[in-house]
Each structure stands twice: as structure tokens, then as C-alpha cells.
């Protein structure tokens, strides 16, 4: 009878039903299939307690901060600053693109927000300067995933809530990998600039450095407040997120005079996006409970030991599974479905919880760049009009670079763990 659940799931998926509801309906049928329908009684409490979670609280607030920023002209100010800084290098606007994503990452927690904002503003500018549209779109998509690696990060908040790992420690651990990722992308961009003779900006075309920096200061204060507040222990991530919302609103008013209507839209979208994620959490938690009842986690752990997989082999297997899952699943879906099932075994094998968290979050964000379902590819292609599959092909070289960075993170845990250790956020 249990086969009815995946069959129904496939039919519902094909009907265009949202993934959260597909998972929820399949879970309910699976309870019946397993003869455990009596335990459906846990559903309301399960849903409530999986959402009523301390570690999740920073998520809606950081989403809101990003929404307000996008509407307040902050992005444009950051792009001009990046131009003043690296526009003169060969392949200048490509570097500007990556650099903008780094600045943006310090404020926003999501790659999707970054790719939308940058494809809308910087891609046309790159095209005017003589870049191909495809290249401009590819580097925009590729660099947007710096967003969830450099703190704040919605994926990491989600991971922290699922695995009961300190969000603060995850945030701090993401800084070096995020910068490493940016460096790798800039090297790749430099190589392409040399190979394809990309233009660099002429002197007169660049914004003057000092006035641009001054104008960008209010915007740069926001990552300063977030990171400083968290690193120096003045605020929890949730509190930092609330402060970021207020700061973003002030910056938005300073730059563009945010209207009340724009603010209302930002609040509404925050609730909707959080709601989408919560519904997913709700549906997956039902499935997770059935798994626990049927002792699935123990079975997986036994399978891993039975197959004789050591910590290194299991870590690699885990990453392959997550890369494949990222191709077909949305990041939060893959996270909610796979992490509670597969990550505990790695922890039992002695993986560091913070290192594991960074590796898995990094891995899953790569899924935003891989077809068939690549969230950032979809957005960049929608906004710029580049053919989806052509864009996917153009992103491929960058994706290879990013998988190499992932490899470095897996093999050298110190890249991730050094900073939080020096700052005293993890032991050892």
C-alpha cells in the first residue's frame, strides 16, 4: 500500500500543485499505507512546533531587510561603489558584478534577491559596454550565490533550525568561504577577460571614488551593523535582523524616499515568502515523523555502517546526493527533505556540525545554478530574456569553479572553522 504515496505524489506534481502540498498529501497517504494513520493526530502540533522555532526568527526579518533594500535604491548605490573600486581592471564590469554580489551578500540573505536585482541593473550596463548578454547573465547568476554564503543567510538560518546548530557560528563560518568564492569567480572572470578580450572601463566612465564611497556609506553600514553586532556578541542573529530592517528602511528613505506603499509591499512579500517556506516545513515534518516512527534514520545509519563507509566517503557521498538533489529540488525543499535524514549520520561519524552545515548549505545553493530546476537561472533568464538552456550552458564553467571551491571546503575544514574558532564561537 505504501507505493500509493509516491504514485500520488507524481500525479500531483504533474498537475502543477505546489511542491509543499504534494509532499503533504503524499505524507498523509503514506501514513495510511504504513498502517500508522492513528498518528496523523500529531499533524497540527507537529506543524506548529516546527514553525514556532527560535532559530527561524531571523529568517522573515532578513527577507524583509532585503525586500526593503531592493525597493530603496540601495543596490544601485552598491553597484556604483563596486565600479569605482574594480571597474578599471580588465574584465571590469565582470568584477563589478562579483563585487556587487559581495556587498549585497552582507545585507541580503538570499541568492534569488541578488540575481534579480543585478540582472535588472548591471546586465544591461554590461551589454552596452560590449559584453555578450549570455556572459553577463552567466556571471550574474554564478556570483549571486555568494549571497547565502556570506552572512546573513536564510539557508543557514533554516539549517540551524533543522539541525539545532548555532546560527551565529554558521554565520561567522560563512565569511571566509564566501570571500574565497568571490575570489575564485573573479579569477575566472579575469581569465575570460583575457581569453575573449573583454572591455575595461575608460577612466572617464567611472564614478568618482570618494563621493561614491560617501554616498554608499549608509548602505555599507548595514552589513557593518549585522556582522559587528553578531561577531562582538552584542546581538543575536534575530536581533541583528531586526536592526537591519530598521537600518535598511532608513537607508531606503535616504536614497529614494520609500513610499508607504512600497513598505507595505515589502511586508506582504516577506509574509508570503516566509509562508511558502513554512508550508514546506509543515509538510516535510509530517513525512519526517513517519520516518522516525518507522525508524528510518536508524536504518540509514545502519546502511552506512553496513556499507563500510568511513567519515570521508560518507561526506563525499552526501555531497553527490545533495548536488543531484539540488538539480531537481528547490533549495529549501532539498534542505528540509534531506538534511534531517542524512546529516545526523555524518555528525555521529564525528563531522563538525558547523563545518557540515557550511558544506551542505554551499552545496545546496549550487542547485540554484543547475538545470532543470535552477532558481537563479530561471530568474536571470526571465529578467534578461536569455534562453534558459543557453544560460545554463554559459554558467557551466563558473559552476565548475564553484564545485572546486566546494571541494576545498570539504577537504580543508579549517577554511570554514578558522574564523569562528579565532573569534571564540566554537571550541577546540
Amino acid at each position: 500500500m505504501i507505493w500509493a504515496a509516491p504514485v500520488l505524489g507524481a500525479v500531483l506534481l504533474a498537475s502543477g500543485l505546489a511542491i509543499a502540498y504534494v509532499i503533504g498529501a503524499s505524507a498523509v497517504v503514506a501514513f495510511f499505507g504504513a498502517g500508522q494513520e492513528r498518528y496523523l493526530a500529531i499533524l497540527p502540533q507537529q506543524i506548529f512546533s516546527k514553525i514556532d522555532v527560535f532559530a527561524l526568527m531571523a529568517m522573515p526579518l532578513f527577507i524583509l531587510a532585503g525586500e526593503i533594500m531592493n525597493r530603496g535604491g540601495v543596490t544601485r548605490v552598491l553597484i556604483r561603489l563596486a565600479m569605482a573600486l574594480v571597474g578599471r581592471l580588465p574584465g571590469g564590469l565582470g568584477h563589478v558584478n562579483v563585487m556587487t554580489s559581495v556587498f549585497f551578500a552582507g545585507i541580503s540573505g538570499s541568492a534569488v534577491a541578488d540575481s534579480a536585482a543585478v540582472s535588472n541593473t548591471l546586465v544591461p550596463a554590461m551589454r552596452e559596454q560590449g559584453y555578450t548578454l549570455t556572459y553577463a547573465g552567466a556571471i550574474t547568476a554564478a556570483s549571486s550565490i555568494i549571497g547565502p554564503i556570506v552572512p546573513p543567510s536564510i539557508v543557514m538560518i533554516f539549517y540551524g533550525a533543522l539541525m539545532n546548530t548555532s546560527v551565529t557560528a554558521l554565520f561567522i563560518a560563512g565569511i571566509v568561504p564566501g570571500l574565497l568564492l568571490a575570489l575564485a569567480l573573479m579569477l575566472a572572470n579575469g581569465y575570460f577577460a583575457w581569453r575573449d578580450d573583454h572591455p575595461r572601463a575608460a577612466k572617464g566612465e567611472l564614478p568618482p571614488f570618494l563621493p561614491t564611497l560617501l554616498r554608499a556609506l549608509p548602505a555599507l553600514c548595514i552589513p557593518g551593523i549585522i556582522l559587528g553586532g553578531i561577531v562582538f556578541g552584542l546581538m543575536t542573529p534575530t536581533e541583528a535582523a531586526a536592526v537591519a530592517v530598521v537600518a535598511a528602511a532608513f537607508a531606503g528613505m535616504a536614497y529614494e524616499r520609500m513610499t508607504l506603499m512600497a513598505l507595505f509591499e515589502a511586508l506582504k512579500r516577506t509574509a508570503m515568502l516566509s509562508g511558502s517556506i513554512f508550508m514546506l516545513i509543515a509538510a516535510v515534518s509530517a513525512l519526517g515523523y513517519l520516518g522516525a516512527l518507522e525508524r528510518l534514520p536508524e536504518a540509514i545509519a545502519d546502511m552506512v555502517t553496513g556499507a563500510g563507509l568511513g567519515p570521508v566517503e560518507y561526506m563525499l557521498l552526501l555531497n553527490v546526493i545533495f548536488l543531484l538533489a539540488g538539480m531537481v529540488l528547490d533549495t529549501p525543499v532539498a534542505l528540509a527533505l534531506l538534511v534531517p535524514l542524512l546529516a545526523p549520520v555524518a555528525l555521529e561519524q564525528g563531522a563538525d556540525p558547523v563545518h557540515l552545515g557550511i558544506v551542505l548549505c554551499f552545496n545546496l545553493t549550487l542547485g540554484l545554478l543547475t538545470p532543470p530546476l535552477g532558481g537563479c537561472l530561471i530568474i536571470v533568464s526571465t529578467v534578461t530574456g536569455i534562453n534558459y538552456w543557453r544560460l545554463a550552458r554559459a554558467v557551466l564553467p563558473f559552476l565548475v569553479v564553484e564545485i572546486a571551491v566546494l571541494g576545498v571546503l570539504i577537504w580543508v575544514p579549517e577554511v570554514t572553522l578558522w574564523l569562528p574558532r579565532v573569534l571564540g564561537f566554537i571550541g577546540g
Binding site: 507537529q46 512546533s49 539545532n164 546560527v167 551565529t168 556578541g233 534514520p297 564561537f425
Partner: protein, 299 residues
């Protein structure tokens, strides 16, 4: 099949609640009732597991003592600082003077019963990152991590301040100075690796840290007389195993010392000062009637 939900790692040396749960399920399995342990967190957090017990979906669970206090607050008497002299007196109040029965009376209609009270180790003391605490005055400039409102008030009564921090963020809070210390039994920082930054411990013997063993009333009252007798015997065996385990936990202070934690003992005068100040908070933890009942029960 009886589901027993654990609240701690399956560690027979370090965890008092696991000692209880394991003795209980072993007894049942040996006496013809199939019982199975579910790892901590497998069936959900404390609130979820409690909720499942009230519905008869999980038969037995190890749970925080206070989890039933959202239904009825009499059980909070077991959390009064400096009220009981030790575990013997607690057992005396619960079993000889009928307090366990009184605790259960209002709970049964909600589908839950407290089967036993489980100690997780020797009495709680004061840990902090900054300075030795030999008296109440030494705490004045600390900001202590509080679990709940009652603890905030306890800290106020001691002339210091409390701040509520969730357990997941406690290590960061302690390292960054959002909080300077906490109240816990001596083994807690060892178990969670906090001894790296909690440099000072005062065994202030504030209260015996307890958890509850709760059972589903639907399940319990639906048992045949014979099966219920077996379950009662299993509860008794589990209580005995837990109290016996407590006797083996004397070495924890030495382990703290080995981990580099400085131990500061309280003089009898200093202890009396803590004791006296703490009594102010009793009225906020239980109501007058409940306090009177507990006072009568420890006689």
C-alpha cells in the same frame, strides 16, 4: 508495543533519565510487555512529545519537570530553590505524604500522568565566566542566563540580573558576554563542552535538578490489572535504579577541576544568605495554597 521517548543520549553513566528509561523498558521487556526506546528528538521536541503522550500516541516519555505546569502548577513546588534538603526528602513528600497523587489529580483528565520524578544529578550550582563567587555580593555585576521568568526573579532577589537566552545560543552568549553564567548541575558544562569558557563554579546546592517520567493516562488506565501491576513494578524498579545511580555521581566536581574550572565553596553564612534571599521568590513559583501543601509534605 510501548514507546518510550528519551530526552537525553543513551548514556547509562552520564544520564539519570536514561538510567530510569532503560531500567523501565528492560523490566517491561523481561516481563512480557514489549517496550521500545526512541532516541532523543526522534519523535519531536519536549512539547511535541508531551502532546503525543496526552493523546496516547506515545506511552511513556522523559520530559522536563515543568512541562505539565502549563496545565497545573502544583508540580512547580519541586523547583523551589533551597526548599528540599535532598532527594530523600523529595521522595518522602511525593510518596509518603501523597504529593505525587495530588500532582496527578488535575492532570489525568488531560490524558497525562506523572509516573515518577527523576533526578539528573547532584544539586545545581552557579557557573560563570568571570570571577569566583563566594557570596551573593560577588554576583552583583554579572548578567546570568535565565531559563524562565522565575529564574529572572531569583537573580533579582540575589541582587544580580538575568537575561533569557535559548539553550542553542547559550555557548555564544557566554563567549561574547551576552550572558556571564548560568545555574546548572555540575555535569552540564562537561556534557556540553562549556568548561572552556565557564571558569568558575560554586556548588551552591540550589536545588535538585529533576525531570519527569510521564505516561499516557489513556494507555495506563486501559491496561489489564495484571499488566498495570507489571508497569507499576517497572516504575518502581526504574525509580530505584535512578536513585542508586545518583549515589555514583560524586566524582563530577573532580572532573570539573580537571577541566580547569576553579571551585569556590560557600561558607555556611554565605549559603544562609542565598537561602534567605531565595525564599522571596517562592510566592512567584507556586501559589500560597500550593506552598502550604509542600511545606506540610516535607514535615
Amino acid at each position: 508495543q510501548v514507546k518510550v521517548a528519551l530526552d537525553s543520549p543513551a548514556d547509562l553513566n552520564g544520564s539519570g533519565t536514561y538510567v530510569w528509561a532503560h531500567a523501565f523498558s528492560t523490566y517491561l521487556n523481561e516481563h512480557g510487555i514489549e517496550a521500545e526506546e526512541y532516541q532523543r528528538g526522534a519523535l519531536g521536541g519536549d512539547d511535541e512529545v508531551f502532546d503525543q503522550v496526552t493523546q496516547g500516541l506515545v506511552e511513556v516519555a522523559m520530559a522536563p519537570l515543568g512541562i505539565t505546569s502549563s496545565l497545573d502548577t502544583l508540580i512547580n513546588g519541586l523547583r523551589l530553590p533551597y526548599f528540599f534538603s535532598g532527594m530523600e526528602q523529595i521522595d518522602h513528600a511525593l510518596y509518603d505524604n501523597g504529593m505525587l497523587e495530588r500532582i496527578n489529580e488535575p492532570l489525568l483528565s488531560h490524558g497525562v500522568r506523572v509516573a515518577g520524578v527523576v533526578t539528573v544529578g547532584p544539586a545545581a550550582g552557579i557557573f560563570n565566566t568571570r570571577q569566583p563567587i563566594a557570596s551573593m555580593a560577588d554576583m552583583a555585576d554579572l548578567r546570568m542566563r535565565a531559563l524562565d521568568e522565575a529564574q529572572i526573579e531569583l537573580f533579582q532577589a540575589w541582587g544580580t540580573t538575568g537575561t533569557i537566552v535559548s539553550w542553542a545560543e547559550v555557548p555564544n552568549a557566554l563567549q561574547t558576554g551576552v550572558a556571564d553564567g548560568y545555574l546548572n548541575p555540575a555535569f552540564v558544562p562537561l556534557l556540553f563542552g562549556h568548561t572552556e569558557f565557564l571558569r568558575h563554579f560554586t556548588p551552591a546546592d540550589i536545588l535538585v535538578s529533576l525531570r519527569g517520567a510521564i505516561v499516557s493516562e489513556d494507555w495506563y488506565s486501559g491496561l489489564s490489572d495484571e499488566d498495570r501491576a507489571t508497569v507499576d513494578a517497572a516504575i518502581e524498579a526504574a525509580n530505584a535504579a535512578n536513585r542508586e545511580w545518583l549515589g555514583t555521581q560524586g566524582g563530577v566536581i573532580d572532573q570539573l577541576r580537571e577541566a580547569g574550572v576553579e571551585i569556590t565553596e560557600l561558607s555556611p553564612e554565605a549559603r544562609a544568605e542565598f537561602q534567605e534571599a531565595s525564599a522571596v521568590t517562592y510566592g512567584r513559583i507556586v501559589n500560597e495554597e500550593e506552598l502550604a501543601a509542600w511545606q506540610a509534605a516535607i514535615e
